[in-house]
C-alpha cells in the first residue's frame, strides 16, 4: 500500500512525520506532503517538518504523484478539506480512475463542541481517525439515528506524539530527579482573558523567587513570534531561574521536566502519558473558547493558589488514568488499526 500524508501546518506536519514512520515500520510505503512557509522557531525540530514531497495540498492535487496513492491522509484545515476532496474526486472521475480513500481527523484530542465542529467539517472523508474511545462515543452520540451517511470513525491513539520520551528520559513513578524543572507550556490562544497571560507570568515570577533551587522553563507550544505574543517585557529584570526556553525542542523539554503545567496545550498529554506530574491551570475558568473543557475529568486541574512553593507541585496526584486512556492513551496500536481500516475500505470499494 502507498500512503501519502498531506499536512498544512507545523502541528499536523510533525504528527504526519511520526505517523509516516510508524506506517513504514509496518512495511508499507508512506510519504509526507507539505510545504510550510516557516520551518524554524516552531516547537518541533526543523528536520521533522521537511516533507518527502515538498508541495502544498493544492500543488499536490496537480501532481501525478497523487494518483500513485492507495490512500490519502489529509490533515489540512478542516475548512479546506472539503475543497480538496471534491477536486481530487472530480479529477479522478475525469481520468476514469478509482479515487483512493481519504482519511482525516483532528491532530489533537478534542471533545464537546470542538469535536463536533471538527468532525462535521471532515465528513467528506472516507475514514475519520480520532484519538480515544471518548471521541468515538461522542461521534456516535452526534450521529445518533442519522439517515445521512457518515464516515467510519476509528481510534488511532495519541498518534500526534511519540509513545515514549527520548532515550534516557524514561523515569518510573515517584522518581522525579533533582534539580527540579517546571515546564510551562505557553499558548498563543490561552488564557484568553485580558491580562491573564501577564498574570500567569507574574505568578511564575513569584514562584521563581520563592524557589531558587528550581528552574521554570516557559516553553511556547506554537511558533514563537518576535517579539513574543506572550509577554512584552519578558527578559527584563526577571529572576535567573525563570527562563524562556528555546524553540524546536518541545518534546525534549517535556521529557526532562519534573512537573509540566499548561492552561490547555495538547502537549500536556505527552507529559501525562510519560508519567510526569501535570497541572492544568484552572484559574481562568472552564470555557469552550479556552479549549480546557476536555480536562474536566483529568484530575489534574488545579488553582495555582493551592501551591505556595514549587515543591508543593511534587505532591499532586497523578492524572486520572481512566480519563487519560479514554482520551487516546489506551490505544497503543493506532497505526496498525489505521492500516487495517484502510485495507477494509479498499476491499469494500473493490
Amino acid at each position: 500500500m502507498t500512503i501519502y500524508l498531506v499536512s498544512s501546518n507545523a502541528n499536523s506536519a510533525f504528527a504526519c512525520h511520526l505517523l509516516a514512520g510508524e506506517i513504514r515500520r509496518r512495511g508499507e510505503d508512506c510519504f509526507t506532503v507539505s510545504r510550510l512557509e516557516q520551518q524554524r522557531l516552531t516547537p518541533y525540530p526543523a528536520e521533522t517538518l521537511v516533507a518527502d514531497v515538498p508541495l502544498t495540498a493544492n500543488e499536490f492535487l496537480n501532481s501525478p504523484l497523487i494518483h500513485q496513492a492507495n490512500a490519502l491522509g489529509v490533515f489540512i484545515n478542516a475548512a479546506d478539506l472539503e475543497k480538496f476532496t471534491t477536486i481530487y474526486r472530480q479529477i479522478c472521475r475525469q481520468l476514469d480512475k478509482q479515487p483512493a480513500p481519504i482519511f482525516s481527523g483532528p491532530t489533537f484530542p478534542l471533545v464537546g463542541d470542538a469535536l463536533v465542529s471538527d468532525l462535521m467539517s471532515r465528513q467528506c472523508a472516507d475514514l475519520l481517525i480520532v484519538h480515544g474511545e471518548r471521541q468515538v462515543e461522542e461521534a456516535a452520540a452526534m450521529t445518533f439515528n442519522w439517515s445521512n451517511p457518515f464516515p467510519k470513525v476509528m481510534t488511532g491513539g495519541l498518534w500526534f506524539m511519540p509513545e515514549r520520551p527520548a532515550i534516557g528520559q524514561l523515569s518510573g513513578v515517584k522518581t522525579v530527579k533533582t534539580p527540579h524543572t517546571l515546564v510551562v507550556l505557553a499558548q498563543n490562544s490561552a488564557p484568553i482573558l485580558k491580562g491573564a497571560k501577564l498574570d500567569l507570568y507574574r505568578h511564575l515570577w513569584t514562584w521563581a523567587e520563592r524557589s531558587p533551587e528550581w528552574k521554570i522553563m516557559i516553553q511556547m507550544d506554537h511558533r514563537r513570534e518576535e517579539p513574543s505574543a506572550w509577554t512584552k517585557d519578558e527578559r527584563e529584570n526577571k529572576p535567573e531561574n525563570l527562563i524562556f526556553s528555546s524553540q524546536e525542542q518541545l518534546l525534549e523539554v517535556i521529557g526532562r521536566c519534573s512537573v509540566c503545567m499548561t492552561v490547555s496545550s495538547p502537549w500536556i498529554y505527552s507529559a501525562m502519558a510519560w508519567g510526569r506530574p501535570s497541572v492544568i491551570i484552572g484559574d481562568y475558568g472552564i470555557r469552550s473558547d479556552q479549549g480546557n473543557q476536555a480536562f474536566i475529568g483529568s484530575g489534574s486541574m488545579h488553582n495555582l493558589d493551592h501551591f505556595k512553593t514549587l515543591d508543593d507541585l511534587l505532591k499532586i496526584k497523578r492524572t486520572n488514568s481512566y480519563w487519560l486512556n479514554s482520551m487516546g492513551w489506551g490505544i497503543h496500536n493506532g497505526p496498525q488499526r489505521l492500516l487495517d481500516s484502510l485495507n477494509h475500505l479498499q476491499h469494500a470499494s473493490s
Binding site: V111, G112, D113, V116, S117, M120, Q123, R134, E137, E138, A141, M142, T143, F144, N145, W146, S147, N148, L193, K194, G195, A196, L198, D199, R202, G282, D283, Y284, G285, I286, R287, S288, Q293, I296, G297, S298, G299, S300, M301, H302, N303, D305, H306, I316, K317, N320, Y322, W323, S326
Partner: protein
C-alpha cells in the same frame, strides 16, 4: 413521603420561566406546593408571569430579597433556573446562610441543549440534583464524570414533554396552516436568515391554499439571553419587500398556534417537542444542512429531516410527512420514562438520605484536581467579571461580582465595581467603571 413537598422554582428569563412551568406537571397523587419566583426583568412578557402565577404562588423578588425571605428555609427544595454563573452564585450564597438543614438544590437545562453542554455542567456539578432531558444528556454527563469524584452526581430525567393537552384537534379538522418557529440566532448570519425567509416565501407561493405563520421567538419589545441584531420582521421586510399574502408573522402564543396548525417547521427549536404535545406534526428544515452552528446536528436523526426548498408544495408535505423516529424521541427524552415525576421521586430519596447525614457533611469540598467553574476563586471571579465588563455583558459581570462579594464581603474595590455595573445610567456607569478600574491580572 406523606406530607406535601414545598418547592421554590427560580427563573429570570421568559424561557427559564417556561422551563419551570414545564417541570410543574407533577403526578396528582403527590401533593406539591409550588412557589415560582420570577426575578424582575425588563421585557419579560406578562402572559408568562400569568402562567407562572397559575401554578401556585408567584413571587417577584430580586435574588437578594429571596435570600432574606423568612420562608426560604421552609422549602424542601429549590430549583434554580438561571444562567451558569448565577446558578453557582445561588448555591454559594445559600451555603453561607446559617441553616441547620438548607433546602435541597436542583437545577437543569432549558430545553434541548444544542451547545456548551460541558461548560454548562461545569457550573452545575455539585448541586444536590441535576435535571436532564433524557438519555442523550445522561450519556453526555456520564462521559464527562465517569471514574471521577462526581460519578455519583444524582440526576433526574425530566423529559421534553412540556405540555399537558386535554383535547387534541384531529388533523383533518385543522386549517391548512404551517407554523414556522423562528429562533433568534439559528441560523445566525443575516444572509442565512434572508435565505430562510426566501425559502418560506417561495413555499408559500407554491402553496396558495396554505398559510405559513412565522412565530417570532420574541416580540420586538421583548428580550432574550441571546444577543441579536434584527428582529425577524425586519428580515422579512428587507428580504421580500411585500411578502406573499399567505406568509405572515403571528405573535399569538405558541400553544395556540400549535393547537391549530397542521404542521410546524423549525431549524432546531425545542418547540419541535411542543408541537408533538399539541398534535401538530413537526418537520425540521434541512435546507442549511447538518450544521453545528444551527444546532441542526442534534435534529438530523429525528426522522422528519426535510429540505423545504425541494418539496413541491405543502399539500405534498402534508400527505407524505411521517411521524418522527420513536428511537430518536426516546433518546432525546420525549417518552413516558422521562417525566417530572422523576424529579419528585429523586428529591424524596435525597431528602430521606439527608436525614441520616449530619448537616456539616451536606456541603462537600471540591476534590483536588477536579476543579469546576463553580469553585472559582475570588481572583478568578474578579478576572471573569472584568472580561464580562469588557464584553459589555453587565448581567454576567454583576453575577460574578456578587459571587465575589460573598467570598470577600469587606473587599472595597469589588463592592465599588459591583455598584458601577449595577448602575443603569449608561454615561454614569461608564464613568464609575473608569474610576473604579483596578488591574486584576
Amino acid at each position: 413521603m406523606s406530607r406535601p413537598i414545598h418547592l421554590l422554582l427560580i427563573g429570570d428569563s421568559d424561557s427559564q420561566l417556561l422551563a419551570c412551568e414545564a417541570l410543574c406537571r407533577f403526578p396528582q397523587d403527590q401533593e406539591i406546593k409550588i412557589t415560582i419566583n420570577a426575578i424582575p426583568k425588563e421585557g419579560t412578557p406578562d402572559n408568562i408571569l400569568t402562567r407562572a402565577a397559575a401554578l401556585g404562588r408567584l413571587w417577584q423578588f430580586k435574588i437578594g430579597q429571596v435570600f432574606s425571605h423568612p420562608e426560604l428555609k421552609n422549602f424542601d427544595a429549590i430549583g434554580v433556573f438561571l444562567t451558569g454563573s448565577k446558578i453557582a452564585e445561588f448555591r454559594n450564597a445559600l451555603n453561607l446562610l446559617p441553616y441547620q438543614k438548607r433546602p435541597l438544590l436542583f437545577c437543569g437545562f432549558n430545553g434541548v441543549v444544542l451547545e456548551k453542554f460541558n461548560e454548562g455542567l461545569s457550573w452545575r456539578l455539585g448541586y444536590d440534583l441535576l435535571c436532564l432531558n433524557g438519555p442523550r444528556d445522561q450519556e453526555a454527563l456520564d462521559r464527562l464524570i465517569r471514574k471521577t469524584p462526581y460519578e455519583n452526581q444524582p440526576i433526574a430525567l425530566t423529559g421534553l414533554k412540556r405540555n399537558d393537552v386535554a383535547t387534541i384537534t384531529p388533523q383533518a379538522e385543522r386549517p391548512k396552516e404551517m407554523v414556522f418557529t423562528e429562533q433568534v440566532v439559528m441560523p445566525k448570519s443575516n444572509s442565512d436568515r434572508a435565505r430562510m425567509v426566501r425559502i418560506l416565501a417561495q413555499l408559500a407561493q407554491r402553496s396558495p391554499n396554505w398559510n405559513i405563520l412565522i412565530k417570532p421567538r420574541i416580540a420586538p419589545n421583548e428580550t432574550t439571553f441571546h444577543a441579536f441584531t434584527d428582529h425577524i420582521r425586519y428580515t422579512i421586510d428587507q428580504t421580500l419587500g411585500h411578502a406573499p399574502t399567505n406568509l405572515r408573522i403571528d405573535y399569538s402564543p405558541l400553544p395556540e398556534l400549535l393547537q391549530r396548525a397542521r404542521i410546524m417547521a423549525t431549524v432546531s427549536s425545542t418547540a419541535f417537542f411542543d408541537a408533538l404535545d399539541f398534535g401538530c406534526r413537526p418537520v425540521v428544515m434541512a435546507d442549511f444542512g447538518i450544521n453545528q452552528s444551527n444546532g441542526s446536528h442534534v435534529f438530523a436523526g429525528c426522522g422528519v429531516w426535510c429540505r423545504l426548498e425541494d418539496i413541491e408544495d405543502l399539500d405534498q408535505l402534508d400527505q407524505n410527512l411521517e411521524a418522527p423516529s420513536q428511537t430518536w424521541l426516546d433518546w432525546m427524552g420525549y417518552s413516558e420514562a422521562c417525566r417530572p415525576a422523576n424529579l419528585i421521586s429523586t428529591l424524596e430519596a435525597c431528602l430521606e438520605r439527608r436525614q441520616d447525614t449530619p448537616a456539616s457533611e451536606h456541603q462537600k469540598p471540591i476534590p483536588a484536581g477536579y476543579l469546576i467553574n463553580s469553585s472559582l476563586s475570588f481572583t478568578q471571579l474578579r478576572r471573569n467579571a472584568e472580561a464580562a465588563i469588557d464584553e459589555r455583558n453587565y448581567e454576567e459581570a454583576k453575577s460574578l461580582l456578587r459571587l465575589a462579594t460573598l467570598l470577600r464581603p469587606t473587599h472595597r474595590n469589588v463592592a465599588r465595581r459591583l455598584r458601577a455595573v449595577q448602575c443603569n445610567n449608561r454615561p454614569l456607569r461608564k464613568l464609575l467603571l473608569t474610576v473604579t478600574y483596578r488591574d486584576v491580572g
